[in-house]
Amino acid sequence: MKALCWQGVNELSVEQVPDPAILNAQDAIVKVTASTTCGSDLHLLGGYIPAMRAGDVIGHEFIGEIVDVGPEVSRHRPGDRVVVCSIIGCGRCWACRHDEWSLCENSNPSPGITDLMWGGTTAGIYGYSHAMGGFRGSHAEYIRVPFVDYNAFTIPEGVSDLDALFASDAAPTGWMGAELGGVKPGDVVAVWGCGGVGQMAARAAMLLGAERVIAIDRYPERLAMTARHVGCEVIDYTSTDVTAELRERTGGRGPDVCVEAVGMEADSTGIQRVYDGIKQQLRLEQDRPIAVREAIHACRTGGSVFVLGVFSGFVDKFPLGALMNKGLTLRGAQQHGQRYIPKLLDRIAKGDLKTSYLATHVMTLDEGPKGYEMFKHKKDGCVRAVFRPWA
């Protein structure tokens, strides 16, 4: 079959690879009908996440049709049109039973790596390096889905492919940031990053009752898209002092909840970007935590900061003093998607949540390398490139 493969830093190609097979009795094979780029793929592409091998198939946010199931699959059958969570959960360990699916204790066949890196085992993720289990990614014609009864969700009638697609990752990730960040009616919420996840976090905050939501980015087209489709306020950080702007908009308090949806390759204006860039290149820090620092400083005393952006290791100049003395709550996680996907599909079906507008560029799988080039450099206003392997 055809698949989009990582070949080295900033190098992708479309290759013929063997078809996937059912390896465990609870597996299914899914024919991928749409698969989208995600900002976290850029960390793999840029070589910031080690443990990639030349030839690895990337991609983790997808929908498709089940074409084959193992003998112990009971909830799905061939022909089901499904959205698959990007995080693999077994559904029966303590973490999965408590809806902390990205902490699944049985879905990563290489647990020793994350165990040593982070002091704990985390779930497997499709197309996200051998540290996360070495599972093939979704930018392919077919994909193997382990523990399919727990990880695939039937798409309701009337929900389009492009709406359902983002229920795989961007929408539940954003929802989790707002919900676990503790957003409640009357809150002021600030979201750093107007990519797909940031926009979904902003929309989730509004649906959870936030009185004001303010999204922050630098790209005019993304700010305009957020204002238009999410309906929240926006700030262009290249034209103002974000912390001062947030104070002025919140009676001097700062936001109640700050959601960081940027990750390890954060940009900024000024010397901070240069400093972190040099330290990252010298491997004196793995990640650039620029937006996290700003969120902690901007947050109101006693407020909450949620880290949705992907980080891999150590950072420098972390404002622990501000965190401690301001009495902040800091949380983070890869998405616990299985907890949110069913209700998000319901909201999408009812029209409460719109997602398909994120798909700014729909392409064939053969155009994968071009899609990532556009996505990485935000060319032509690209927010998400979506690949349709069978188009």
Binding site: A3, C5, G8, E15, V17, P18, P20, A21, L23, N24, A25, Q26, P50, A51, M52, R53, A54, G55, D56, V57, E72, C90, G91, R92, C93, W94, R97, E105, N106, S107, P109, S110, P111, G112, I113, D115, L116, G119, G120, T121, G124, H130, G133, G134, F135, R136, R144, P146, F147, I278, L282, L284
Partner: protein
């Protein structure tokens, strides 16, 4: 950029030198080596009650066939069962391990993880790495060495 790298390397080397000197003068304690490293129990928590982990006192298969001491107790709260194991055999020395001698603790780590997965899910998940799509590269060789130990390594 080269000058920057050289500067950083020189700074790191000077720092290491200072640290070694200070340690030799007894001013900085060295990192403590775990005196019980080779005899500590390796433990895992299984989301099942004790009578399902070892029904009738029979150990689950991956552990049952190993030459290991095993103990278990109910985990606090709703967490199920804490299952512990450690090898009866002595851990081979560093030289013996370099000559290919297996460390029995690594086998026990794997057995504990497989036991947990079998009891909780009925299966042990296999990786897609069995369906190879990759090609050999030098960085890939380094990764292969790490992955070769990934199922049996870690903090467990």
């Amino acid at each position: 950029m080269k000058r920057l790298v050289a500067g950083a390397a020189a700074l790191a080397a000077a720092g290491l030198g200072m640290a070694r000197w200070a340690a030799s003068r007894g001013r900085v304690p060295g990192a403590a080596k775990d005196p019980l490293e080779s005899s500590r129990w390796l433990g895992i928590t299984i989301n099942r009650p004790p009578d399902e982990v070892a029904p009738g006192g029979h150990l689950p298969e991956p552990l049952g066939r190993m030459d290991a001491e095993v103990r278990m107790n109910r985990a606090p709260g709703d967490r199920g069962t804490e299952l512990y194991a450690r090898p009866r055999a002595q851990r081979p020395g560093t030289l013996a391990r370099l000559r290919g001698g297996e460390d029995p603790r690594t086998e026990i780590r794997t057995a504990l993880r497989e036991t947990k997965s079998l009891l909780e899910t009925g299966d042990v998940l296999r990786s897609d790495e069995e369906m190879e799509t990759t090609r050999p590269t030098l960085p890939g060789k380094v990764l292969d060495m790490a992955l070769g130990r990934a199922a049996e390594g870690g903090r467990l």
